[in-house]
Symmetry: C2
Subunit: 379 residues, 2 copies
């Protein structure tokens, strides 16, 4: 095996410059309880882009360096540097999850047992040719599954299951999802169809609505339709959904959902309450597709909440055993419920191509890239 | 005793007209477990104004009727009528809380025991000369306390205690309060000074800040000061406050508080987290002094929540015994911790005076009216 290999690093400089490059780092030797994974498939998730590009204005991006080791630089607006304070002048590896083949293993039996296996990992620093990681953090893929099949084993599959579990834990009977035509949205729809859970899908266009309906979705409301609010209210009244998961964040949508939940509740209310319905209405924001401000008109009584939702604290809250059950379902249904589709497979060097950045940084539903860090690399 | 007496009623007509009038209603005969209270003091709280004037545009208010029984009419904008659907064409009595003297009692011993006593009530329909109510709902005031002393026994005293209890129940160690120069804010400050709880008071002006500092407040930040955000961040870092109660609702303030909490948390953070600090930051909106939209920039990681906070479900959640403990503290500290100050005492007819409406409907801190429904009334 080679002595050193490529790792993507993102650096925010004190000067206000972002620099993303491919560093040559030593290939780590696994400790006793670790294995070394040759990473072959790792997705570019929206949740990776924040670390990858920080607060930089990517319209200022320039490329330098060589074809095999390009360097991207971009300016970070002065007023966004405060939010970057914690990472200034420290090169950060990127890439939440991925999959690959175990090519070396430490002495411990549980490490040795993984030699040659294809495993999935949630551990960060996956945009690299190699990743050393504890054996117990590896999810062994079922035989016949490729690294690409298992590349997105964690973030979307656990997030979509986490939404349904949160709905149950907090006493709601159905749920709402925005940006519902995404890979994650399609997974959530498959879970809800299989488990008989009421789901109101919110999408932007008729095409997205038809795609989800073709996958068995009963309720799909398009924000582009002239009667969106009435459609949504009817779907909420029929399903009884009082919790929503919102990938968008900015703009009026979260507030519109709360208001429509309140209208749906009041349609069946028996007497007037000046403080609104007593039923708790909740929206969790788990994404930031629109980074603009959220606008809340607060015309939905007093029993409402809006907040951030994030996978890691959710998994900590439910505990090891419950989290393991969710992971086992992912393995069982890897190529059905939890299948991901990618528009393109790229190398690490291609991740740093300005033309590709323009495409995958758009964060538009239906565009998802898979990185193969060992594609086109001299070994 | 007279056969009929005055009761203020607010009526939203299907035509889009608000009509507030003094109706003559029969004086009720108390049932066995009830008493009849002659109401002598009932405050005009911000929480009463919503029921009193509904969604009407009070700049269109006109007065008619007689001097002793005036009638106020005002237009309700068409686009706000949907929110009024539940109360259309039903005259609503108004007035959450108040105090008075028990002038008749049902046969049950607990009712008879209250004859002649001055009691406080939280029951609605207090803007009336008489109110029949269950004996067990009456809070007997300590001897020597007047109806005016006990008029505001519930809403502000239980809300301010409820804030501190919520802070404790949800695992926070200090709290933030906006519109902190209000009657409620002064109560909360007295509770926190007495109990040694860290409190960050947010006010609008230097005068309000000095008033609270004169009452022992350690942290007072004025939104009018040029270095408001830095002042607030420092106070949050020193107290460790991670929960806020906001009376204002609209505008950027709730988001500014969440952002300042995040900055305060990151000042002591040991390593960079792209998802922000893991510490949960919470703002509860309990009032609507600014009815405009809330603006959230969501620049405070993922561990945050914003939601409505309301006294009734809080009291239900903590249960009877805990709620009774809060009530007993109000009785014990009625003229100290929980003393209210009023700028003016008015009659029911004066509540319907356009000049007075202009003053008390401004909802400005430092203007609080006390209604005496038996003032200036022919008996």
């Amino acid at each position: 095996m080679e002595q050193s290999a490529l790792q993507l690093q993102s650096l925010v400089k004190k000067s206000g410059e972002l620099e993303v490059s491919l560093a040559r780092v030593p290939v780590p030797a696994p400790k006793a309880d670790e294995v070394l994974v040759r990473v072959e498939a790792t997705p570019l998730n929206p949740s990776d882009l924040g670390l990858l590009f920080g607060a930089a204005d990517m319209s200022t991006a320039r490329v330098s360096g060589s074809a095999s080791q390009p360097v991207i630089t971009a300016r970070i607006p002065q007023d966004r540097m405060q939010a970057m304070a914690g990472r200034v002048d420290q090169p950060m590896p990127v890439g939440n999850e991925g999959a690959g083949v175990v090519v070396a293993a430490g002495d411990a039996p549980e490490s040795q047992a993984l030699m040659g296996k294809t495993v999935a990992i949630l551990g960060g620093a996956m945009y690299a040719q190699y990743r050393a990681i504890k054996a117990k953090q590896c999810l062994v893929l079922p035989s016949g599954a490729s690294a690409a099949d298992g590349a997105s084993c964690f973030v979307n599959p656990l997030t979509s299951q986490g939404m349904v579990e949160t709905m149950r834990m907090e006493g709601h009977k159905a749920l709402v999802h925005t940006a519902a035509a995404s890979n994650l949205g399609q997974m959530l729809n498959r879970i809800c169809v299989a488990d008989g859970v009421g789901l109101v899908n919110i999408v932007r266009s008729k095409e997205q609505a038809e795609m989800l309906q073709g996958q068995g979705a009963k309720y799909v409301c398009s924000t582009g339709a002239p009667d969106f609010v009435e459609d949504l209210t009817r779907a909420l009244a029929e399903t009884g959904a009082t919790i929503a998961f919102d990938a968008i964040g900015g703009g009026p949508l979260a507030g519109q959902i709360l208001a429509a939940m309140e209208t749906a509740a009041n349609r069946t209310a028996k007497e007037y309450s000046r403080y609104g319905s007593a039923m708790h209405k909740q929206v969790y924001v788990y994404g930031n597709l629109d980074t603009g401000p959220s606008l809340l008109n607060r015309n939905y009584g007093m029993a409402w909440g809006l907040g951030g939702w994030f996978l890691t604290p959710f998994l900590q809250k439910i505990g090891k055993d419950a989290a393991q059950k969710l992971r086992m379902r992912v393995v069982r249904e890897l190529r059905t419920t939890f299948a991901s589709r990618y528009t393109k497979e790229v190398s690490l060097a291609e991740v740093l191509s300005p033309a590709e950045i323009t495409v995958y940084n758009r964060r538009s539903t239906g565009t998802k890239y898979l990185v193969n860090p060992n594609k086109g690399v001299d070994r």
